[in-house]
């Protein structure tokens, strides 16, 4: 079902407000879910809303909480998310870092106990829009097996990086798994097989059956090096936030536990050279215009695809599964009746 972005955004915002979220919080959370849809990552989009609303109803997520902030040192902010919505706690933490970085040149937020952040790109874009370099790291339940291993023991451990340029910022946002669990669920729903190398089944054996993969483990991207980076990011978050490691993480996917994962945001002021932004843009353009291996597939820069998909979706609407849209609509009617 194709829906205009603004209609979907308004519905998400309304449902969150009726669940008890202050307007500003409902807006932030709805915007993050919509960005997932607009950029072609429905796994981080509206399909997370029913679960989130359930979590609020069950008291596992507190839509009014903003996180308890405490500056442990001049540039190091500790945040207890207090079960707040991920976008609310994270945005407030980032704004605190942006207020501080003018003095310290670098500022870090170590966050624990916030709900799922959604797509990370938007957080580092907020930092780049303020003129700084931004890094975001997050963690999850154990979904990824170590290189050469058989059991899910790491999170999908995404990283996002934004760097200001003379135009739109450079934005990278990727998970350190070869694919997201959302994509595997998607294949399972459609009855499709998954490519060899994506996942192991619950016994630790390679599988192309998406349903078997759901109870197994996803492969890290890039073999030993990708595993090493994913593990390093997991340790960085755990060491800075004091949060659990993947096997003990709960509450980003389930409807039974409060979220106990960690998130880290880093803001650093770029070098003051006046021509820097132009030089970055020129370098990225040189990459884009360099000769591709396949003439029909130009070299791209991370973020280009998401930006193009976003533009198209703002014009043409977003594709939402019928059942999901009906579910959200029926929640609205129920709320109105009650």
């Amino acid at each position: 079902m194709r829906i205009a972005a603004e209609e979907a955004r308004a519905l998400a915002r309304t449902l969150l407000e009726r669940a008890g979220a202050p307007v500003a919080h409902a807006t932030l959370q709805a915007d993050v879910l919509l960005e997932g849809e607009l950029r072609g990552h429905p796994s981080h989009g509206l399909q997370r809303l029913p679960r989130l609303l359930n979590r609020i109803e069950r008291g596992l997520a507190d839509p009014a909480a903003t996180g308890a902030q405490s500056w442990r040192k001049a540039g190091l902010l500790e945040v207890d998310g207090n079960a707040g919505l991920g976008p609310v706690v994270a945005t407030r933490a980032i704004d605190a870092l942006l207020s501080r970085v003018g003095q310290t040149g670098v500022a870090v937020a170590a966050v624990r106990n916030a709900n799922h952040l959604g797509m990370l790109a938007g957080y580092v874009e907020r930092i780049a829009a303020a003129g700084s370099v931004g890094i975001a790291l997050s963690t999850s339940e154990a979904l990824v097996h170590p290189h050469g291993g058989t059991r899910a023991m790491l999170g999908t451990n995404p990283i996002a990086v934004a760097v200001p340029t003379a135009g739109a910022p450079f934005v990278l946002d990727l998970a350190t798994s070869v694919v997201s669990m959302g994509k595997i669920h998607d294949h399972a729903l459609r009855g499709a097989t998954i490519p060899q190398g994506w996942a192991l089944d619950a016994n630790g054996d390679p599988t192309t059956d998406a349903i078997q993969a759901k109870s197994g483990a996803i492969a890290p991207f890039g073999g030993a090096k990708g595993y090493a980076l994913g593990l390093a990011f997991e340790l960085l978050v755990g060491a800075l936030a004091g949060s659990p490691f993947a096997p003990d993480v709960r509450g980003t996917l389930d409807a039974e536990h409060k979220a106990n994962k960690g998130d880290v945001f880093i803001v650093i002021e770029p070098n003051g050279a006046p021509e820097l932004a132009e030089r970055i843009s020129a370098y990225l353009d040189a990459l884009r215009s360099s000769r591709p291996a396949d003439p029909s597939r130009p070299v791209t820069v991370p973020g280009d695809g998401a930006r193009a998909r976003r533009e198209a979706a703002l014009q043409g609407g977003i594709e939402i599964p019928d059942q999901l849209w009906r579910d959200l609509q029926s929640r609205l009617s129920k709320d109105i009746q009650s």
Copy 2:
């Protein structure tokens, strides 16, 4: 030729001292080269010494320089390496960060114009030994092609991360290329072919000929995601240090230019939870003891292999090519005669 580590270290130190390096600088530089040998990365070991000595003789590297440090903000250190030896400039910058991080909680050094750092692991180990989390990033000449591209336009853009544990620190140190240019040179020297997927030739076509690959481009590791991360690291370093991007980087490999690349070091205080170090160690041990896909190849944690190779080499000596050892010995005699 198998040489005792201490003999090789002493020779390197002596040659550097005779080239004009103060004892402390010669010691630091020799130690970094030796660590490359001890951990099984000869591409970052003594084979770099003749070129480095030439660079000193030609005035491209200044063995007495320590770098001009200036705190741009409370937690942000700018360093002009002033053509100093990489290990000297970097170690002095890291020590400044470690002195500052107690106040600020996080401190960053953005370094430009320092010579080649050698293996990054030692720098972040120094940070972890002081109880903090360490991240090191560096850049190089254009050696790596973009994903889907044909031309060398990115550096090998290594990253190192260290996190303190209850035992030896977790240490990751990897390049974002699928393989180092040193390994390709190594294959070329031995007349060996290289695996498909490692490199393109000067025309941008895939090659298994190591000699053709030397004038071509190395692949990024892990496809699109590895390219994205390597590019993000390159932009982070350039944006923070104000240093050139790969196509304009000179002087880490050649004997004609001063080094103009950038390096970044980040030091962050870990969360103060008393059981944190033990919890990290327990998690890493759980990974190591998890069931491997191949029973004969246990799951490892980044740094395990390097630590084992280092122990063995400290006992059994390091393998140095005959010609390299003779070259270094003859420099010693020449120095003594002159």
